[in-house]
Symmetry: C2
Subunit: 436 residues, 2 copies
């Protein structure tokens, strides 16, 4: 078998068999398939696509390129969740202890942020002491003791994905749906959960700009997961405006913990509660929708979710006082600048991409992988789509390190708002569900 | 400017401007555009193609990536020829001294063979002492003195082409018509000739398998040359059967020299005389077709072509006795095995690809760039398309190093012949001409 022949086959639209896919991917990792050959193959895949069978094989080869987490010591099926990434998406931080408080274990591996979307690991590192780097046995132990953990993916899990992603990133081949679905699902399958909810975001602030793209990605990921024997639900959710009010690391942690107190912005609460209910029903198919919703509501009302959050954060070395008094332990930015509404009206849009980029520029995110992140800075939306404002009312508050940075960010945030004189009611956040 | 953005643009079907093409190609040579990025770009080009304007820019950037030959010291416009490569194609060896003998200088740079097609340099190295590596000033001096020279392309001429071709070779991106045309024409433009004949071969033994592919490549190369201010004629010629009778290095040299004696197989004679006439008329537009043909016939009949061949070969260090007594100076293979016809009939086909591969297997060519070439071995066709044979008549003769090699080659050669009971008249060798 020769790499150049396999590239030519994909270039001409042929379907690879499993041995060919393994030859390419294993060879790429071993250095016997050259980087430039893998790059040409990736572009041929962007062109010609991958069949469902090829995707299954590619995913399986990727899963077995490294370690696989064994969660059977937990004695109960564990669940997982994934989001394709959005602005203000702090769902994991609220959802994980909430589901664990309902008796379903969650062993979650997360990533860092890049570009206009933040990363859960960066957010959690706002909590003093929180350790993201747990080896797999420690991860399983923490989940066994407190019901959940949120850690960084170890380098030994799906090493093929990291290598392939780095290549795709510099060769303009990230956007092949088959490669995206495979990259996500290989990590989910290797992480060992039996059931999962996948949140595919769609809109101006999301990776998928159109509903058709989101549907295709959801279909591919759902198929990969179910054919691999997992129970999977995909939710397509809107990412036109930031999720909730807070954009920025410590600000988002505080908002996520609000949800566990029964507080928090309604769109965030809706996604967290809906996803939690789905995960409970995936773990226990005998449970009906109302029963699952009642358990979720109980976990919040009883304080069990907050207590699980305290135990989880403490188990990972974090200062658990963050749960009850966030700003006693996390750093706040020294400057808080309101962004006044230039006129009276109703908010028709708060463009997520523009808000995300403004937050990155402020220091809350990274343009390049090697950039540091400022945990304290960010943006808090005072007015959200559908809200009416008077001229001069604050649209948002900028949390910044400097007056100049705050002023620049305020201009970008003001430009992300659309105000009009007619009323506006934002559409439901969950657009479609696949596999429920 | 970032390479990844340019790859994405080509992936999405956009047209590059000249600065973008120069950024990619110069960056690739300088190492600031990564090999894997160039590979992904090449596959995007196979997918999306290049516009005529992009091809002009790419070609010009390639020409100026290295030295350019200045032939103005010759005081007369020089001509050049190129063939896209075929089995038994020894046209350059006959055409070059023939045209020079008619008073038109030829400064020819040639390549080595790879795969089923042979290379002129390998053939000429069958002549003891012949030096292919002349620096540019020496090339110009030899052409000035004897009228012609055939040398290897120096590494300083179009270095971008060698680098890009090596990358395309391992990434299954050789076959983009725009890249093929640019690769050929950058070398022709850098080599300094004012006029040229380009022989685009079509058929089972050629790079272009269909007439449409050959027409497109001819159109692209003709356009590139004429827009760069050169006079260009493209001939599309058949490569279904080997050209002439001899396939193999020394065997082909001997056959090419036969043409200068007024002998040689009719298809080879037709191409050599037609191309010579075209080159004379490109060098002197006042010459009509009959006048050019008469000069070519005179050069052969008078012995001027043979004399030019002697002086040319001697000027490049070769043993000029080869012109008059080839087998006194070139090595012959020790074994000559006839391939008997399995039945009586008329030859309807001698598949060029199969003959070429059989010759490579015998040692006359290379499967890999680093393989050595055996100058003595080869195949001589006794029966050609249209010839009638009796059962047991020789179809061909195998010139081999070993009995086992000869027997194996004989089986492959027999399988390349198609015999049938009805008569057959092969089509004309020149199918179409562009730019005449």
């Amino acid at each position: 078998m020769r790499a150049v022949d396999l590239i030519a086959a994909k270039r001409d639209g042929a379907e690879h068999d499993r041995a060919e896919i393994a030859f390419l991917l294993d060879g790429f990792l071993a250095g016997t398939v050259a980087t430039e050959q893998m790059a040409a193959w990736c572009m041929a895949v962007v062109w010609r696509g991958l069949s469902d069978r090829e995707i299954d094989d590619l995913c399986d080869v990727m899963v077995h390129s490294g370690d696989v987490v064994d969660l059977t010591p937990l004695g109960r099926p564990a669940v997982d969740k994934h989001s394709t990434g959005g602005v203000g998406d702090k769902v994991t931080i609220a959802l994980t202890p909430l589901v664990a408080a309902c008796g379903v274990p969650v062993a979650k591996m997360s990533g860092r942020g890049l570009g206009h979307t933040g990363g859960t690991l960066d957010k959690l590192e706002s909590i003093p002491g929180y350790r993201i780097a747990l080896e797999i046995p420690e991860l399983v132990r923490v989940v066994g003791e407190v019901g959940c953990a949120v850690v960084a993916q170890t380098a030994r899990l799906v090493p093929a994905d990291a290598a392939l992603y780095a290549l795709r990133d510099v060769t303009a081949t990230v956007l092949a749906p088959g490669l995206i679905a495979t990259s996500v699902m290989a990590k989910k399958l290797a992480a060992g959960a039996q059931a999962m909810v996948l949140d595919v975001k769609v809109g101006n602030g999301a990776f998928c700009r159109t509903l058709d793209e989101a549907r295709e990605l959801a279909r591919l990921m759902h198929g990969l997961g179910t054919r691999a024997g997992r129970r999977v639900v995909c939710e397509i959710t809107r990412m036109d405006a930031p999720l909730g009010r807070a954009v920025g690391n410590a600000l988002e942690v505080a908002e996520a913990l609000d949800v566990l107190r029964g507080d928090g912005p309604p769109d965030l609460v809706e996604i967290v509660r809906t996803s939690a209910g789905r995960l409970l029903r995936l773990a226990d198919p005998a449970l009906d929708e109302a029963g699952a919703a009642a358990r979720v509501a109980d976990a919040i009302a009883s304080g069990a979710a907050l207590e699980t959050a305290r135990r989880w954060i403490a188990a990972q070395g974090g200062d658990a006082r963050v749960v009850d008094d966030p700003w006693a332990v996390m750093e706040r930015a020294p400057i808080v600048l309101p962004v006044p509404a230039p006129r009276a009206g109703t908010v028709h849009a708060v463009h997520a991409l523009e808000i995300g980029l403004a937050a990155v520029h402020l220091g809350a995110g990274r343009s390049r992988k090697e950039d540091p992140v400022d945990h304290a800075v960010g943006i808090v939306l005072a007015a959200r789509p559908g809200d009416a404002v008077a001229a001069g009312d604050p649209l948002a508050f900028i949390h910044a390190r400097s007056d100049a940075g705050a002023a620049e960010c305020a201009r970008a945030v003001a430009a992300a708002y659309e105000l009009a004189d007619v009323p506006y009611s934002p559409p439901p956040i969950v657009v479609e569900t696949i596999g429920a």
